[in-house]
Symmetry: C2
Subunit: 462 residues, 2 copies
């Protein structure tokens, strides 16, 4: 596709390294505008498929369609696999069927799986049809594994050797094999029942004498991935154990494929994106989504928030008489709720992240909860002092200062507690804590914050 | 270190795959308690260094010290590199100096760099002292590159070949070389001035005939990393271009090292952790931090939040007279602020994430802002209807319903605008948008929410 060697490496260490150059984008759009195919092809030539995909995502739908039509046969299957789902769905019908067929036929089967798995039935069918029989069967077999499983992620092409082979025999075998996979890093050792028993890196194979048995060169760290394992756990294993590639086995422990670290890295990146967006109540979303789609995806969390905000208002309404006597309470009450909400968000983000990295477990959950309670108490006391003084000076009432300070301490302890217990409980129940914790925690701190502050005030100040 | 082959692979696809087994942890702590060294060694034997590090992080400081003392000479340098910084600093003084020396001498130089770069001067000195001269020089050279740069991340051991070599000569050279790096995936082609000009994978080398020139086997995708590039950009390049390893060059374009994907994956993971924690105002933090450390790290953001909450209260206080006439305003006003805050958080999270993945650029920023404004308007209208009806029924005032509905629409449009413009502006100014956007955006929505709602109410309802 591209070679970075013609890139000006002196530019790379700027802050916007690897960012699409605004001028280059403008030049490409100009070439599209004047329908200059040669110019367009020349401008696109140095770009990697991933960069072309980014470009297509960043321009508007009209320009995108014109560009793709002008680019014609140059359009590459790899660009399709790099595109975000929503843009991909839009691009597929634009492509000339023949261009699409050629683009797809060039791809490795695991990329085809990646390409078609999120598509609607008819689009999926159309792509599978253009594949050669052997490839189509391979893709359909991969699709038979559950969504987001190791089986969907793996390549089916594996370089393997019987466990009793030596270096010489293996090297001869590799040299005689015509269709080695495009990328591979290990020879997988298998026993007679096809069970993988070890990995030998190509580097070790190169460095060893011909008579050395393969088993003597096995990697120390070796992990076998079951085909039905969640891809999130696969990514975790690669990151935790610094794996480069790992064999995948079926339910009978037979070798069926191999996952490489570049695929695991993509999953790790996607999982992080999911977590960060879910914590903000956004759900799966892309910058290229339309206004309607975006609005629809954000509505549910806002709806939940409206409901909980109304609950908090109901709490306030219980103290209507108190507020009408002392309007300063209405002025100060958002502070208690806001501080609690922020402290709760801090605790819950740490907990959600620690659950994802498997650092928060049954062994230390009580210690973490105790720590959060103590932190809530400490920070609560600290800000209660500040806020107490502010309240006292502003409204010239020492008692009001004491009430808001006390309410703040309690609410921040509650925030620390809820911020840890809520995500841990959701996780135990099999619910993604990133998705739902925020609502529960901020509802708790809002409701409790208003209740304690206004309740205390009505007892003490009236 | 460990072999996963003796693991019961039937267990792997459970939800808690790779999580430390609570029973195993209990058994290890029991062995420590009764000072049974053989039992401890046996229980620890199947664990990978990364898992031992997780274990040490999850138990309390007292048990940690006892365990390390009992484990003695079995303690491995790799465990040190896997530990979180705060725990590592605590573990180093506990280690017997001789055990430490042996542990460190076993490590590759890039791991030593990783180990010492965050340590205080005296601890750093102590570790560098035990290294052999050649290794110490290599480590000190790496440390001369800026923090978080490619130079710190790279291995100095590179397998390279002059560009005019063929396959046969390269293979002979590899077989004759005694100290090939532990892990390598490419042979880097260099020109006579040591400038890297291409990568050849070991798989290609294995599959080709002896007389084929290396240049004919070059990888299509090839990226050169400058030694002073930010490690965040390095991780981006690996993820974007699916690199497995990439040569690192100095300011004169000479090859000085190589970065492999497993190191890039660790950086990607850390960057994500940083983003997610910064968005929540937590800063760098670990589950193993003490109460005092945790409290201190969370104080700054809470302090900023207190300040902005007081600003919002000042806005409310301007309408004291209005509220004392109509207490229902005090009851409803948190809803407007809360909805705006949530909508703003949604927009800003999407923008922060898109800036990190370089999907939000000068080419599409206006389109994204326009989209956010439209989404704010749409969702605002949607919830204004609901909330208007609620306000009307609850307080039996159609005008109050109209006022809160109108305020909500305006605040949600403001949220969409601030949620995009604030992070983009901070990014342009060279400030990490994940760190500071939240405060600015929620302050804006709080202040504007209260102002519009109470302002409108005082004009219309009184």
């Amino acid at each position: 596709m591209s070679t970075g060697s013609d890139q000006d490496s002196g530019d790379l260490h700027r802050d916007d390294a690897y960012e699409l150059d605004r001028k280059a984008v403008a030049a490409i759009l100009y070439a599209v505008d004047v329908q200059d195919k040669d110019q367009l092809t020349q401008l696109m030539e140095p770009l990697h498929a991933a960069d072309i995909a980014d470009l297509l995502e960043q321009i508007n739908a009209h320009d995108r369609a014109l560009l793709i039509q002008l680019y014609g046969r140059e359009f590459d299957g790899e660009i399709l696999t790099e595109l975000e789902e929503s843009v991909r769905e839009e691009v597929l019908p634009i492509l000339n069927p023949q261009v699409l067929a050629e683009a797809v036929r060039d791809l490795e089967t695991d990329d085809v799986v990646d390409l078609v798995e999120d598509l609607e039935e008819p689009q999926q069918e159309a792509i599978l049809e253009v594949l050669e029989d052997v490839d189509r069967v391979a893709v359909e077999q991969s699709l038979s594994y559950p969504e987001n499983s190791a089986g969907r992620l793996m390549q089916r092409e594996v370089v393997m050797a019987p466990e009793h082979w030596n270096v010489g025999k293996t090297i001869d075998f590799l040299r005689e094999t015509d269709d080695l996979p495009e990328q591979f890093y290990h020879v997988v050792l298998i026993d007679p029942r096809m069970k993988p028993i070890g990995n030998v890196t190509l580097g070790k194979l190169m460095g060893a004498r011909r008579e050395v048995p393969l088993v003597d060169l096995q990697e120390e760290v070796f992990q076998i991935i079951p085909a039905d394992q969640d891809e999130e756990d696969v990514a975790y294993a690669f990151n935790q154990y610094h794996l480069i590639s790992a064999p995948v086995v079926d339910a009978d422990d037979r070798l069926v494929g191999v996952i490489t670290i570049d695929d695991a890295m993509v999953v790790l990146d996607e999982e992080h994106e999911e977590d960060i967006l879910r914590l903000a109540g956004v759900g799966e979303s892309a910058l290229s989504d339309s206004v309607g789609e975006t609005s629809k995806k954000r509505l549910p969390w806002l709806g939940v928030n409206l409901f909980t905000a109304i609950c908090a208002s109901l709490v306030i309404s219980q103290f209507e008489a108190t507020i009408s006597e002392l309007v300063s309470l209405a002025i100060l009450m958002p502070i208690v709720a806001s501080m609690g909400g922020n402290a709760g968000t801090q605790s819950l983000t740490v907990a959600v992240r620690a659950l994802a990295t498997k650092d928060l477990t049954g062994s230390n959950v009580w210690r973490v909860i105790r720590r959060e309670l103590m932190v809530g108490l400490l920070n609560g006391l600290c800000f209660a002092t500040v806020l107490g003084v502010v309240g006292m000076l502003w409204f010239e009432s020492a008692m009001l200062g004491a009430v808001i300070g006390t309410a703040l301490v309690f609410n921040m302890i509650i925030a620390g507690f809820a911020g840890t217990v809520v995500p841990v409980t959701l996780d135990k129940m099999g619910i993604d804590p990133a998705l739902a914790s925020g609502t529960f925690v901020t509802t708790t701190t809002d409701v409790m914050g208003f209740f304690i502050f206004l309740g205390l005030a009505s007892k003490v100040l009236l």
